[in-house]
Symmetry: C2
Subunit: 208 residues, 2 copies
DNA sequence: CGTTTATGGATACTGATACTATCCATCGGA
DNA sequence: TCCGATGGATAGTATCAGTATCCATAAACG
């Protein structure tokens, strides 16, 4: 397959594919001569994944690069590879809350993890984001939202158990890593959409 | 309060505050003379909200403008105002999936809503995003993820009931609308962080 | 075999977003 | 009275995500 066919197969313009190649979102094709490369089904799959992340999940290109790099790093133990993919999925966020608010939030989150018996890295980005957000609840005068943490955590626990199970059931390791990425990122847009729909449905029922 | 004090109170540079004023994220201060305006506590609150949305939740400035406009539109029935706020919270996404995939996804989502008895607008953006995402599961060869829809919906139902209840319990209508915005947007980052932490904790337990 | 079209690679340009910087006439406080 | 801050306008900057152009070469067609 040459680049034009790759473009037709995916609906992505040739210049954009060239851009993705430059940025390392897509591995180079097999070169047969200095200006002739062959692409395969793997490239089509990869491009579809990139587009889903960029267009649907609105993941920045730089972050997509990290994500696909983790998918291609299959020369380490599977567990390490999944860890790397998982880390690449978490966006960096600016710290915004005051130090005092963050301290209060840190304590609240720590207690939550204790209550639920969750064992997580003490300095991971997901934990930092959670703490920052809870701290922001305080600075915005929405302390009552802190009370929802347990309800959210309990709900999340339910399906996460199933997700982890499903992921480990995949036959090949490429599929395992890829399904971690897709399941986590697109799963988030699913959950978010469902939440908005549930809010709409429930509040409509309450007002009629 | 003059703009310098507003800047000191929030930690936001004066030029940025001027930019937010220009963009309509912040209402103008009370003008006492052509180059002298007074800002109040409401401005401090609003700036904190804007910063939380922009920095923490990474909402684009143009969308924040819609959101705050909905908060200020308190001359319509509360129910309409909340509807407008709710709509402003849903980002627009490009359509990416093929027509066939979208058709399959539409049927699957429709059945889901039927099963759960959710009554929602047939052409809302949240529904469109959900359909688009399910369609993408198909084009990425991750049909198995469609099986998670019920688990996600069931989990989401649990806490949404509580959320709607809590929101309606607020004493004043500004607080109602504002807590819809904060609860929905920051609630999403909380849920997302908790999900990642749960994944980390559960998969660590499974591999040790 | 010659001509048109496509290709890989490099470099330059574009439009959108989110600020920053500068300017200026005016105002308020020491 | 005079110096720094203010409101408002306009211009400049950095980053991001592509697009566009150019070129020498290679493939496809008549």
């Amino acid at each position: 397959m040459r680049i034009g066919e790759l473009s037709r197969a995916t609906g992505i313009p040739v210049p954009t594919i060239k851009y993705y190649l430059r940025e390392g979102l897509l591995p180079a094709g097999e070169l047969s001569s200095p200006n002739q490369a062959a692409y395969g089904e793997a490239h089509v799959r990869r491009l579809r994944l990139v587009r889903a992340l960029v267009d649907l999940a609105q993941v920045p290109v730089a972050q997509v690069k990290e994500i696909v790099a983790s998918l291609d790093a299959d020369d380490v133990p599977l567990h390490d590879q999944i860890g790397r993919a998982h880390r690449a999925l978490i966006p960096a966020r600016k710290q915004t809350a005051s130090a005092e608010a963050r301290e209060v939030a840190t304590a609240e989150v720590r207690e939550l993890l204790q209550r639920r018996g969750w064992q997580v890295e003490a300095d991971g980005p997901a934990l930092a984001t959670l703490i920052e957000t809870v701290a922001t609840f305080h600075t915005l005068g929405q302390q009552n939202l802190v009370g929802f943490l347990d309800a959210y955590a309990a709900a999340v626990e339910q399906f996460t158990e199933l997700e982890v199970e499903a992921v480990t059931a995949h036959p090949t390791r490429d599929q395992v890593a890829e399904s971690v990425v897709i399941g986590t990122i697109l799963g988030e847009t699913v959950i978010s959409s469902l939440r908005l729909l549930a809010q709409e449905s429930i509040s409509a029922r309450r007002w009629s």
